[in-house]
Amino acid sequence: MSAETKAKDQPLFGLAAEFDSPEAIVDAARKVMAAGYSDAEAYTPIAIVELPEILGSKRTYIAPIVGIGALLGAVGGFGMQYFANVIHYPWNIGGRPMNSWPMWIPITFECAILMAGVSGVLSMFALNGLPQPYHPMFRLDSFARASQDRFFLCIESTDPKFDMIETRQLLESLAPMAVMEVPK
C-alpha cells in the first residue's frame, strides 16, 4: 500500500489552501463564508484583525475574565489584611484604628494586578485549548511556513456543506498556491 492510498483511506480533517499574502487570505475567507461554509479556520503568521470576524468568531470573554480576576485579587488582598489586622491579630498601637485601610491599598492593588494578569494569561491559553501538542494541520509539510510567511485556510470536514469535489473546486477558484488534503 503506497503512502498516497493510505492517506486517501484515512478520514480527512479538511481541505486546506495555502496563500502568500494577508490580502489573499482575507479575500478567500470572505468568499468561503459567502459560499455558505461555517467550519473554516485560518492559520496565519501574523494576527490579521479582520479574519476572526469574517470566520464567525464572537467575543473572546478574556476582558470579563480579567475583570473578575482583578476583583477577586482586590477583595482577597484587602480581605487578607483586614483579617490579619482586625480579626486574627488586632494590636492597639496608640489608639489608632484597627481598620487603617489607606495603608492597605498598595497590597490590595498589587494583588488585583497579579490576579488579573494570571487569569488573563491562563484563560487565554485555556480558551485556545493550549497546550495542544498535536493538531491535524501539523501533518502538512508546508505548514511549517504558517508561522513564517504563508497563510493557510482550512475548511473542515465537519462542515455540513463539505464535499470533496465542490470544496476543492471552491478553494482552487480562490487562486491559492496549493490545495491540500489534511488527514486527521
Binding site: 479556520e41 501574523i46 476572526p52 489586622n85 498589587e110 494583588c111 488573563g120
Partner: protein
C-alpha cells in the same frame, strides 16, 4: 545581508522604524538565524567566559556572606542600608524601561517599540532577578526570608502590612511574575516559528514544548491579542506602582532627605531614565554584533535618547525640588542635608551625580549627538553610573548625618560589597548573552505585523485599523 543599507546612508532627520526591503520571510530568517544558524563567535565566547568568572565571584562572595553574616559588608549603625539597597534600587529601576517599552508604548501605539520590546523585557526580567537578591541577602537571617510572605504559621504572626517594606515584597514579586508572563506570552508565536525552523531534533523538541502547540489560528490570535493588550493595560500602572513603592520605602521614614512626598514620581522617572540608559547600553552593541541594523534603526536609538532626555529632566526637577524644599521647610535638619550634600564628606558623589545625570545628558538635545552611536553609548554608561550615584547619595548621605550629631558616622564599602555588586553585573550580562543565543531577541511575529501594517514603511501608523479587545 549585503542588501542592508548601511547606517551612514540612513542618517536622516527621521529614520524609518524598519528599513525598506524587509519582508515577512526576511524578518523571520534574519532573527531566527541569529539563534539557529549563527556559529558561536569568539567575542561571544569571551563574553560568556568573563561573565562566568564574575558569576563565580558572585557565588563565592554570597557564600562567604552567608557563612559570616552581613558584617562582611561595610554596613553598620548608622548606615545600615549600604550597597545592598543601593544596588536593589538601581537594578529594579533598570528593569522599568522594559515594561515601559512593552506596555506603555504599546498602549500609545508607538510602532518603534516592536523591534526592541522583546529584548527590553528580557532585560527587565534579568534586572529584577539581580535586584531580588539584594533585599534577601541584606536580611541578615536569610533562612527566615519566607517570614516576609503572609502564610498561616504556628506563631500566629502576620507581616506588617502597613510597612512600605512589605509592600515592596508584594510589588516586586508581582512585578517579576507579570513581567515573566508578559514576556512568555509575547514569545509563544515566535517559539512556534523557532520550532518550525529548527533542524536539530532536540532543539525542535524544546521549542515545540515551549510553543505549547501554537499554530496561529485566527481565533487564537484574537484571544491572544485581547490578553496581550490587557496585560499591557495592567502592566502600565504596575510599573508605576513598583517604583513608587520603592520610593515610599524611603518616604515613609523620618530621615532628612527621605521624608518627602516627591519621592514616588521622582523615583519612577529616575527608574525609566536609568532603564533607557541600560537599553541603549545593550542594544547598540547587539544590533551591530548580530547585524540587526535594518530592524533596530537609528530611529530607535533616537527615540530612546529623547525619552532619556525627558525623564532626565524630570529627575533634575526632583533634585531642584529637594534643594528648594530643604530651604523652604525651615527645618535645620533638612537644610543641613543640602549643605552636607554640597560640601560634606560625600560631596564628590553628589557633584558627580549632578554631572552625570543633569549636565552631560543635555548633549542629547542635539540631533548630531543622538546619531553618533559611540557618543550615545558612552552617554548611556554615564547615566547608568549617575543613577547608581543618585541612590548612593540618597541612602548614604541621609543615613550618615541624621538628627543627632552623636549618631553620625561614616560608611565605607568593603571588598565584599564590591564583589557582590560586580558579580550581579556579570550575572545580568551572562543572562543577556545566553538569551540572545537561545531565544529570538526581536519579536518576529510583531515585526511581521509591522511589515504588514506599514507595507514596508509607506503607510503611516495613523492609518492603521485600531486594535480592539472584543
Amino acid at each position: 545581508m549585503s542588501s542592508i543599507p548601511h547606517d551612514a546612508t540612513m542618517q536622516t532627520v527621521n529614520p524609518p522604524v524598519i528599513y525598506p526591503g524587509v519582508t515577512y520571510a526576511s524578518v523571520t530568517d534574519q532573527v531566527s538565524d541569529v539563534v539557529l544558524k549563527r556559529p558561536f563567535g569568539k567575542a561571544w565566547m569571551a563574553g560568556v567566559g568573563i561573565t562566568m568568572l564574575l558569576v563565580m565571584m558572585l557565588t563565592g562572595s554570597i557564600g562567604y556572606l552567608l557563612l559570616k553574616g552581613v558584617g562582611v559588608w561595610g554596613i553598620n549603625v548608622p548606615v545600615a542600608w549600604g550597597f545592598a539597597i543601593i544596588n536593589f534600587v538601581w537594578w529594579i529601576g533598570i528593569g522599568h524601561a522594559g515594561t515601559f517599552i512593552s506596555a506603555m508604548l504599546l498602549l500609545m501605539r508607538q510602532d518603534w517599540r516592536t523591534s526592541i520590546n522583546r529584548f527590553a523585557e528580557a532585560m527587565t526580567l534579568f534586572a529584577v532577578a539581580c535586584a531580588g537578591m539584594f533585599p534577601l541577602l541584606h536580611l541578615g537571617r536569610y533562612k527566615f526570608f519566607y517570614w516576609l510572605m503572609p502564610y498561616p504559621n504556628s506563631m500566629g504572626l502576620w507581616p506588617q502590612f502597613r510597612s512600605a517594606l512589605v509592600w515592596d515584597v508584594f510589588a516586586v514579586s508581582t512585578y517579576g511574575l507579570i513581567s515573566l508572563l508578559f514576556w512568555y506570552v509575547g514569545l509563544v508565536p515566535d517559539l512556534a516559528t523557532m520550532r518550525d525552523r529548527a533542524t536539530n531534533p532536540i532543539v525542535w523538541r524544546i521549542y515545540a514544548i515551549l510553543a505549547l502547540g501554537w499554530r496561529g489560528a485566527s481565533r487564537h490570535w484574537q484571544r491572544y491579542h485581547a490578553a496581550y493588550l490587557l496585560l499591557a493595560g495592567i502592566a502600565a500602572p504596575l510599573v508605576v506602582s513598583v517604583h513608587s513603592i520603592v520610593g515610599m520605602d524611603f518616604a515613609q521614614s523620618l530621615v532628612p532627605g527621605w521624608h518627602s512626598t516627591i519621592f514616588p514620581p521622582y523615583f519612577v522617572a529616575g527608574a525609566i531614565f536609568s532603564g533607557f540608559a541600560m537599553v541603549l547600553t545593550l542594544i547598540i552593541p547587539m544590533r551591530k554584533a548580530f547585524k540587526l541594523e535594518n530592524l533596530i534603526t537609528l530611529r530607535h536609538v533616537n527615540n530612546c535618547c529623547k525619552l532619556m532626555l525627558v525623564t532626565g529632566m524630570i529627575v533634575a526637577y526632583g533634585y531642584a525640588a529637594e534643594i528648594y524644599m530643604s530651604w523652604y521647610s525651615g527645618s535645620v535638619y533638612e537644610s543641613y542635608l543640602s549643605y552636607n550634600r554640597f560640601f560634606g564628606n560625600y560631596a564628590v558623589a553628589f557633584w558627580l551625580l549632578i554631572t552625570c545625570n543633569v549636565v552631560i545628558p543635555q548633549l542629547l538635545w542635539f540631533q548630531s549627538i543622538r546619531n553618533n552611536l559611540y557618543l550615545v553609548w558612552t552617554l548611556a554608561i554615564v547615566v547608568n553610573v549617575g543613577m547608581w550615584l543618585e541612590r548612593y547619595v540618597i541612602i548614604i548621605i541621609s543615613l550618615a548625618r541624621d538628627f543627632i550629631p552623636s549618631s553620625w558616622g561614616m560608611y565605607y564599602p568593603t571588598v565584599w560589597d564590591i564583589t557582590v555588586f560586580a558579580g550581579t553585573i556579570g550575572f545580568f550580562l551572562l543572562l543577556i548573552l545566553m538569551f540572545v543565543r537561545v531565544l529570538p531577541a526581536i519579536a518576529m511575529a510583531e515585526t511581521r505585523e509591522l511589515v504588514h501594517e506599514t507595507h514596508g514603511g509607506t503607510v503611516p501608523m495613523q492609518n492603521m485599523e485600531p486594535r480592539r479587545v472584543r
